[in-house]
Symmetry: C2
Subunit: 330 residues, 2 copies
């Protein structure tokens, strides 16, 4: 069969079949893809579920992200929401919509990206069902499931006064990568391709989610919209104020400083306001032993007028709301 | 707050919050919407999961379906895939994409449709998470979960030679409703609004799924693409031939005959080829006592050259593949 066949030519059912054939099946699947529903084990009698959508032009651009990148990112961004509960990712379902002119080989590379992200970030997890539809733009909705393995879920609302605030994963690198792509500066894009790659294929610290839960984390969330905005979310849900120590952000800034200079940007903005790193923000009792993957960045204070303070200053909620801002296409 | 506010004006987060506020929460939810993931009970240590997408212009038209209709249909079509496993629908997540110009009140009516379908078709089931994004066209991806309550899942692959083939629910009514809408014949649309309403707000026989499993159904699937096509799927998966007795389809034809005459259509085509009734097609051992909701329509034969026979004639696989056919917009 030709490499130039399109989805419209082979039909959705056949294209979906070929795509699914390339995937790894979840080790947790009792019944995998192909029936009306899949059947997944939930050993402790509960499962976690979360869903998120990526839309072409808004969340990604096809000239910046390959099909493989997109598959990877769709998995990574969703299983970060599983990890943020303290759960182990077990099974995904993927609803994909593409133009009829899309090559079947593009779908196959997308499937390869889905699989690679599962294998690399959450071994044992796999795609157990999918849906393929046609639309003008590419859209991917992933629903991700997890197992709490008998632990209590770590919610956003549990942060306690006196807790240590800590981050696992990168801060500002995905925003740096986006800014580099937006700059169109090919030299800078090549020089800092490690940052561009965090934007294209984020590597959230999935195992850190379970580690945090086991270490007694009192609250946790996935940093998808940036530290300022997401810290405000968890602080509000917990009815406390987060005080972030700017000194503890210097290490994160140092990593992106050089790239910022190359394209005249502000590395601090990336670290504080930039989304899509899909790192984990958590709070721990002050006497807890933090898992090695977590770096302390502040302390939890009684609720004040501002949900988040950066040192002595209130931190405005930056970050994006994708319906209002066209950050990605700015 | 004004009724004319748009999603772009209030922002996605706020619009999503208002939409979710109108929903019933699943009785199976240990943690409902608002955190990184929801947490759902899975009493027998397993859950079923299925996903499906409806896209404007392809699966529905906004001049034919209200926001309420669309919410209803998104739930109904997905929980039919839960019922087809012999499971009880427990929890849904909904990924919705709409243009920024969409009124928040439209979203609220959509939520009302989601809720009404849950309450009416699968009491106890509810929406436990959602995602709102912006796109040129309206798109809804629903992922539906179910509980098998200790029963074995009823697969497509279990039909045995000698089994009775039976249907629960309507056949051809949704196709009749679609043809009526397509005809533009307002008199006929009004006269047969019961059929148009099956197209807009299908009522799959959800409880019949569990009843079938309890009665020993050997195979089952949701009739989403029409009897001919879906019977071929289950026959192929089971490596048998389905022989459907045309006499047993007469009752289904009779229901849509008058509407067919009004717009010069073929009622037999609707019954055999028409999709979207979301009825259940199942097979039972010949000595099983069929649940009252199931009507026998044929018997399972050893695998022959054609997966489905209508009496003595091979039945071609009709039905639609949405990427090839533009049936809905024909």
């Amino acid at each position: 069969m030709s490499n130039l066949e399109t989805v419209a030519q082979v039909g959705e059912n056949e294209a979906l079949k070929r795509t699914i054939a390339r995937l790894n099946v979840s080790e947790f699947a009792l019944v995998g893809p192909g029936d009306d529903s899949a059947v997944i084990t939930a050993p402790d009698g509960r499962f976690t579920v979360t869903t998120d959508t990526l839309i072409e032009g808004q969340d990604f651009r096809l000239d910046w992200s390959s099909a493989y990148d997109l598959g990877w990112k769709a998995v990574a961004s969703n299983i970060a929401d599983v990890a943020a509960m303290g759960a182990v990712p077990t099974a995904l379902v993927v609803a994909l919509a593409v133009p009829g002119s899309t090559l079947v080989s593009w779908l196959e590379h997308f499937a390869d990206g889905l699989k690679a992200a599962c294998v690399s970030l959450a071994p044992g997890c796999g795609v157990v069902g999918g849906d393929l539809a046609s639309s003008d733009r590419v859209m991917v909705s992933v629903t991700a499931h997890g197992s709490l393995e008998g632990r209590e879920p770590v919610l956003r609302s549990g942060a306690q006064v006196g807790d240590v605030i800590a981050v696992a994963g990168t801060l500002g690198r995905a925003a740096a990568g986006l800014a580099l792509l937006e700059s169109g500066n090919q030299d800078a894009i090549s020089a800092y391709d490690d940052l561009v790659n965090v934007q294209r294929r984020p590597k959230p610290p999935i195992q850190a989610g379970v580690a945090a839960a086991s270490a007694g984390a009192t609250s946790m969330l996935d940093l998808s919209d940036g530290l300022a905005r997401d810290a405000a979310r968890i602080a509000k849900a917990s009815k406390v104020t987060f005080e972030i120590d700017p000194k503890h952000l210097q290490g994160f800034e140092a990593v992106v400083e050089e790239a910022a200079r190359a394209i005249d940007s502000n590395p601090g903005e990336w670290v504080i306001g930039g989304g899509e790193d899909h790192s984990l923000l958590a709070t721990f009792p002050h006497d807890a032993v933090l898992p090695r993957s977590f770096k302390p960045i502040g302390v939890v204070l009684p609720q004040g007028p501002s949900p988040v303070m950066l040192g002595a200053q209130p931190l405005p909620e930056r970050g994006w709301d994708s319906s209002r801002a066209a950050n990605y296409l700015a």
